[in-house]
Point group: C2
Chain length 327, copies 2
C-alpha cells in the first residue's frame, strides 16, 4: 500500500490541501482562497491546482489518491458535488472526472461530504480513535454531523445520512434555514446562537460581551461568548448553558436511534468548550432510554479543523484498501 495520500478541504472561503502520511498524519499543507464568486470553473481549476501541488510534494508513485471533502450533496458513487451553499452557479460537477483527467487517469479521486470527512479524520487521527463507533457533530455556521459505525462512514440510502442539524427537539420551535421547526441548527447554528445572545444581552447591560466586541453586537461569535464566560460573565455563561442543554437533547434522540454512545464535537462553536459541553453532558442521559445510558460520553475533537484534511486523505487510503480487497 502506498504511504501517502492528498486531502483537499473545499470551504466557501478557503481551499485547503495537505499531503498525509498514512501513519504519521499531516506532512505538508497549503491554502488558497476559494474565490467561489468567480464561478465553478474557476474553483474547480483551483482544486486541481492545489491537488497537483500536494501530489508533486510526494515522491513519484507514492500517492494512493486524492480525497476531497466538499459542502453540498455528494452522490452515492462519491464523484459529484451538487449545489454547495455559497458557491454561485454551481449545479452538479463531477469532480472525480475533472481531476482525474487533469492529474493522472490512474490516480483515484474520491469525493465525500465535508461533515463525513471530518468524522473519518477523527476516527483515524483524532479523538474518534477512542471508539470504533461515534457520532460526530460539527458546530459551525450550520450544525453538521457524521455517523462513524465500526470505523466506517454510515452513509444511509443515498449518501446523505447524519443531518443532525435538522433533527427537531421541539415540533413547535423556531424554524431553522431548512424549514424544520425546532431543528437544532435553529438554536446552535452560529448566527442563530449569536442572535440569541444579542437578544438576551438586553437584560445584561453590564455584560463583558459589550466590551469584547467594542459595542458592535453584530461581531458576536461563539469565541466572544467563550472569552466572556472565562471572565465569569453571567450572560455568556447562560447563553452557552442554554445552547449546551439543546445539544444534549438532540444527542439523546440520536443515541436512542443509533445505540452509539460516544459523541465527538468539533467545529467553531465547540471553541466554547466545556461551557457548552458540560450542560450537554448533564442533560444527555435524561433524553436517552434507561437501557442505553451507560458509557455515554461527549468529547471535544482535540485536533480541531485538521480532521477535515486528514479525513479527506483517508478516503484515498480506504479506496485503495477496497480495491485490494475486491481483487
Amino acid at each position: 500500500m502506498k504511504p501517502y495520500a492528498v486531502g483537499v478541504d473545499l470551504g466557501g472561503t478557503n481551499l485547503k490541501g495537505a499531503l498525509v502520511d498514512r501513519e504519521e498524519g499531516l506532512l505538508e499543507r497549503t491554502q488558497y482562497a476559494t474565490e467561489a464568486d468567480q464561478g465553478p470553473e474557476h474553483v474547480v481549476d483551483r482544486i486541481g491546482a492545489i491537488a497537483e501541488e500536494m501530489v508533486a510534494a510526494a515522491p513519484n508513485s507514492s500517492v494512493a489518491g486524492v480525497g476531497i471533502g466538499a459542502p453540498g450533496a455528494v452522490n452515492w458513487n462519491r464523484t459529484t458535488v451538487s449545489r454547495p451553499p455559497n458557491f454561485p452557479g454551481w449545479e452538479t460537477i463531477n469532480l472525480q472526472s475533472v481531476l482525474q483527467s487533469r492529474l493522472d487517469r490512474d490516480l483515484p479521486v474520491i469525493v465525500e461530504n465535508d461533515a463525513n470527512v471530518a468524522g473519518l479524520g477523527s476516527a483515524f487521527y483524532g479523538t474518534g480513535q477512542r471508539s470504533d463507533s461515534f457520532i460526530m457533530v460539527t458546530l459551525g455556521t450550520g450544525v453538521g454531523g457524521a455517523i462513524i459505525y465500526q470505523n466506517k462512514i454510515f452513509r444511509g440510502s443515498t449518501g446523505g445520512a447524519a443531518e443532525i442539524g435538522h433533527m427537531t427537539i421541539d415540533y413547535e420551535g423556531p424554524f431553522a434555514n431548512s424549514g424544520v421547526s425546532g431543528a437544532i441548527e435553529g438554536y446552535l447554528g452560529q448566527e442563530f446562537l449569536a442572535q440569541h445572545a444579542r437578544d438576551r444581552l438586553v437584560n445584561y447591560p453590564d455584560s463583558a460581551v459589550h466590551d469584547l466586541v467594542d459595542g458592535d453586537l453584530e461581531q458576536i461569535t461563539p469565541r466572544t461568548l467563550y472569552e466572556a464566560a472565562n471572565q465569569e460573565d453571567e450572560l455568556a455563561r447562560e447563553v452557552l448553558e442554554w445552547a449546551g442543554h439543546k445539544l444534549g437533547c438532540v444527542l439523546g434522540s440520536a443515541v436512542n436511534l443509533l445505540d452509539i454512545r460516544t459523541i465527538v464535537v468539533g467545529g467553531g462553536v465547540s471553541a466554547a468548550g466545556d461551557y457548552i459541553l458540560e450542560p450537554a453532558r448533564a442533560v444527555l442521559p435524561r433524553f436517552v432510554v434507561p437501557g442505553l445510558r451507560e458509557n455515554l460520553r461527549i468529547l471535544r475533537e482535540e485536533l480541531g479543523n485538521e480532521v477535515s484534511l486528514l479525513g479527506a486523505a483517508r478516503l484515498a487510503f480506504e479506496g485503495e484498501q477496497a480495491q485490494v480487497g475486491s481483487r
Copy 2:
C-alpha cells in the same frame, strides 16, 4: 441450505411458534399462553416445548435453526434476554444454551429483540420487501422500532439501536415511562393515546366513542378510535390526526439522521390505518431537510403481526448463510 426454520415470538401474554418455509413463509403455527406470572423457569420450559413442537412438525434434519423474538434487552451475541418488561423474576437468561441442550446441540438458536425481528420479517416477507432499507415503527403498548439497512438489522454498538419510541419531539413535553421528556411513546403509546382520547372526549359528549365502549372509557383502544373515525366521529378523527402529526415529526428526525426514506408502520395502533398515517405523511417532509425530501413514504405493514414469527425464523436462515459464508 435447509428449507425450514422455526420462529418463536415471546410476548407477555402469548407465546407463538411457527414453522417457516424459506420461500413460502408460514407453514404451521401454534400458540401457548406465556404464563409469565409463573416465573422464568416455567416460561423457558414453555419456549422449549413450543420450539420442540414446531421442529417436530418438519421432516428430520430439514430445519436450519430456531429464532426467537423477545422483549427486553438482547445481548450482542444474540444469546441472552435481560429483564423483559412484565416477566416477574426474569433477570438474564441464556435462551440459546437452554434451548440447545433441550433440542439438539447442533441446532442453531438465535435470539433477537422483538422489534428488530418484526423489521426483519417485514424485510423478507412483508411490506419491507419494497425497499432494501427502511425504518420499522411498531405502534403497540410502547413504540418500538427497527432499522433495516441494506437488508440487515442495524444493531448499533450493543444491539440496542432503533429506540424510536424514546426520541423526543419536544424537550419540554410530557414524560413517557422512560423518563424522556417529549418522547414519542408519551404521545403514541397505547395507554398514552387512550388517555389523550379520554381527556379530549370531555369536549365531545356526543362522540360515538361513548357508545362503542358502552360508557366505560377505560376500554378505549386504537381500534375504538378507528371504528369511531369510520363513523365520521369528529373526536376520533381529531385524536388520530393529532397522533399522526406527532408520528410524522419524530420520523422526520429519524430520516434526517439515517437517510432512509421508507417507513413501515406496524403494531396494534396501526390498526387506525390512514387516519393516523395520512397526517404523518403530510407533516413528514416538513421535518426533513430539503435535500432528503424525495421518495419519502410511510407504508403500513400489510402482514400484521405475522412478521414477528417470520422474522424470528429468518434469524435462523441468516445464521445459516453467515456460517456458510465464513467457511
